[in-house]
């Protein structure tokens, strides 16, 4: 492969890794900081992707069938993707978040599956199982089509940085400290006069908005989405492994995990594609198995992931730390959950 080919390959890889980085940041707000168990990441991914696809595409033509098609600009699509995803999150947060943690999890799975069913079966909505194709790309007239991905990488990275900074600011604010207090011990936080379910709802919606934006970013990159894009494996399981491997509770860890896991995933697919076809299918399933094994192994062996959680969360505590020496080590668990009884 020549140098240009390698550069092009690396760029394509990086764009998808950045998109996964956005998903991981969103899930980190929910799970890493607040301890909310979302096993329907794929659902919010799908909502974001479809929202922007329907808003930014031209009206449906002869060979396709979908609603809207408003030719709106990319930025509007992105914002609405986050907005719609947040609204859906709010709707399922209301009945579930004041109850047991498992209920939220199963509700997120339910919404993810239901969304896939709706898009698959309602052809008028978004072209049914054939999906949306030719989703427009921002700034695509600027360069030749074969060089477009470099522009898109810049857009994606800029967005990732923006989201990263926004979360860092939020999490270091008093609001963010309440979230972590809820994760560590819900009862004490409530006793301290905080409205626990309101904070949880806000964190869940905030995370969902980010995942929705990530979905939009994905849709404009691949230009085509079908209901089968949003399988549990690619939409949910991979994101979980990325976040837990990188380190739940650490935003840098979340992004690192996205790059490492996506690197291993695509790298191993590069190798397995050289195999005969029957073997290549088996190799795919072996990688599937490795994802599950990794998730369990991290939980058992290194729950804090590669990076672990950042300890310093406030400017003020930093000053005190310098005065009294390093603080005691935090417990090694990821989100140490609240008592459910």
């Amino acid at each position: 492969m020549d140098l240009g080919g390698i550069l092009s390959y690396v760029t394509s890889f990086a764009i998808v890794a950045v998109v996964y980085g956005v998903f991981c940041l969103g899930l980190n707000v929910q799970w890493g900081f607040t301890g909310l168990f979302n096993i329907g990441v794929a659902g919010f991914f799908a909502i974001g992707a479809y929202t922007t696809a329907l808003l930014t595409s031209p009206p449906a033509g002869m060979f396709s069938d979908y609603v809207l098609g408003l030719n709106l600009p990319f930025v509007v699509g992105l914002i609405c993707a986050g907005g719609v995803s947040g609204v859906i999150a709010l709707l399922i947060a209301i009945p579930t978040l004041r109850l047991r943690e498992d209920y939220l999890a199963i509700a997120t799975l339910g919404i993810a599956e239901s969304i896939r069913l709706v898009f698959n079966n309602e052809r008028w909505l978004a072209n049914g199982s054939r999906g949306m194709i030719g989703i427009p790309q921002p700034l695509h007239n600027l360069v030749a089509p074969q060089n477009y991905k470099y522009i898109y990488l810049c857009i994606a990275v800029a967005l990732l940085i923006l989201i990263y900074v926004a979360i860092q600011r939020a999490i270091r604010s008093p609001w963010g400290r309440v979230l972590r207090a809820i994760r560590e011990n819900e009862a004490t936080t409530a006793a301290a006069g905080k409205n626990v379910s309101a904070f949880k709802t806000q964190a869940f919606v905030f995370g969902a908005v980010i995942i929705g934006i990530g979905g939009a970013l994905y849709a404009h990159y691949t230009r085509s989405i079908t209901p089968e894009t949003f399988t549990p494996l690619f939409g949910t399981f991979l994101v979980w492994v990325m976040l837990t491997l990188g380190g739940s509770g650490s935003n840098r860890g979340a992004i690192l995990g996205a790059f490492v896991v996506w690197g291993v995933w695509t790298g191993s697919s590069f190798l397995s594609d050289q195999l005969p076809k029957a073997w290549a299918t088996q190799a795919f399933y072996i990688r599937y198995l490795v994802i599950g094994l990794l998730l369990v192994a991290i939980l058992l062996l290194r729950p804090q992931g590669i990076m672990g959680e950042e300890r310093r969360l406030s400017r003020l505590s930093a000053i005190r730390e310098d005065a009294t020496g390093p603080p005691e080590a935090e417990p090694p668990e990821g989100p140490v959950g609240s008592d459910t009884s």
């Binding site: 096993i39 498992d102 799975l109 069913l117 399933y285 599937y288 599950g292 998730l295 369990v296 668990e333």
Partner: protein, 302 residues
């Protein structure tokens, strides 16, 4: 409509086998087992392995039991699936959940570990049998015509009978046997049970065995009803949890009742909606229960 109602009861009896397992496990271990659907799937495929490969070699395959679409070999296959899944579930507990328990991990981390186990089990099914649907039998079965225009196949009667017998068995086990009583005591209060000399680790192993064994049967029955698919169990988690929550989580009688209601509603909905929407119906029912009566029909108040 009468026909859909009857089909709903049959679907409900399959759901109940899974939901009772989830609710028993929740009662003892206090976390939702997200691998439960995949235990169903693997159980179904273990029976498929028996019926398609292992048993024909011993000369037990091929025959048919009366009007049923399968033969005596299926009964052996179900037994093997139960024992196999019970062993796998105990092994998974020993390898994963027990370690987390001993470390005093948060319950939500156990739920997350079960997500990992779910992925592992799914990938094993894919590795073993690929993604194409599998059928136990391709034999065409004639349906009986009952009053009210209800068409019923012998297999469906079999499904219902097996499920009811197993549910009754679980009831007798919980009420009559020492282990069943120990299980109920542990569900009430694990510390207190331990103080009175109950070996709670043994209770946990039994709970896994029963839960996974029932799940295996549910998987086989799903395969008999329709077909085997590697993702069928993961999607089936939604009606399973809907039934569990509707009945009141932790209560096996509630799980049975909830399963019947969910099954009937799912089947009746096909009169108006595409059958593809069945999981969504279960999901909506669950949300309504959580809004109106979060502790479920037979649940104790939180």
């Amino acid at each position: 409509m009468a026909e859909l109602f009857v089909y709903g009861i049959i679907l409900g009896s399959i759901i109940s086998l899974g939901a009772i397992g989830i609710t028993l496990l929740y009662g003892i271990l206090r976390f939702g087992n997200f691998a439960h659907g995949d235990y169903m799937t693997l159980g179904g495929y273990i029976a498929y392995l028996m019926v398609s490969v292992a048993l024909p070699r011993t000369g037990l395959g091929g025959s048919r039991l009366g009007p049923l679409s399968f033969g005596f070999d299926m009964l052996i296959a179900i037994l093997v699936a139960i024992l196999g899944m019970a062993a796998i579930a105990i092994l998974a507990d020993w390898l994963v959940y027990k370690r987390l328990r001993e470390r005093g991990s948060a319950l939500i981390l156990m739920a997350m570990a079960s997500l990992g186990v779910a992925i592992i089990v799914q990938s094993i099914v894919y590795l073993g049998w690929g993604s194409a649907p599998k059928f136990y039998s391709t034999a065409i079965q004639r349906a009986w015509l009952l009053p009210l225009g209800i068409k019923l196949k012998a297999d469906q009667v079999f499904t219902f009978t097996v499920a009811i017998l197993l549910v009754a068995g679980v009831h007798l086990f919980l009420k009559r046997t020492r282990m069943g009583k120990a299980m109920r005591a542990t569900a009430d209060n694990m510390q207190l049970a331990r103080v009175t000399g109950i070996d709670t680790e043994r209770v946990i192993a039994w709970t896994w065995a029963i839960g996974a064994g029932l799940a295996a049967v549910a998987g086989v029955l799903m395969g008999i009803e329709a077909q085997l698919m590697p993702v069928m169990g993961w999607t089936f988690l939604i009606p399973l949890f809907a039934a569990t929550i509707l009945g009141g989580i932790g209560n096996p009688y509630g799980a049975f009742l909830g399963a019947m209601i969910v099954g009937i509603c799912q089947q009746m909905s096909t009169a108006w909606l595409s059958p593809a929407y069945k999981p969504a119906i279960a999901f909506i029912m669950m949300i309504i229960v959580l809004l109106v009566r979060p502790r479920g029909l037979l649940g104790r108040s939180a």
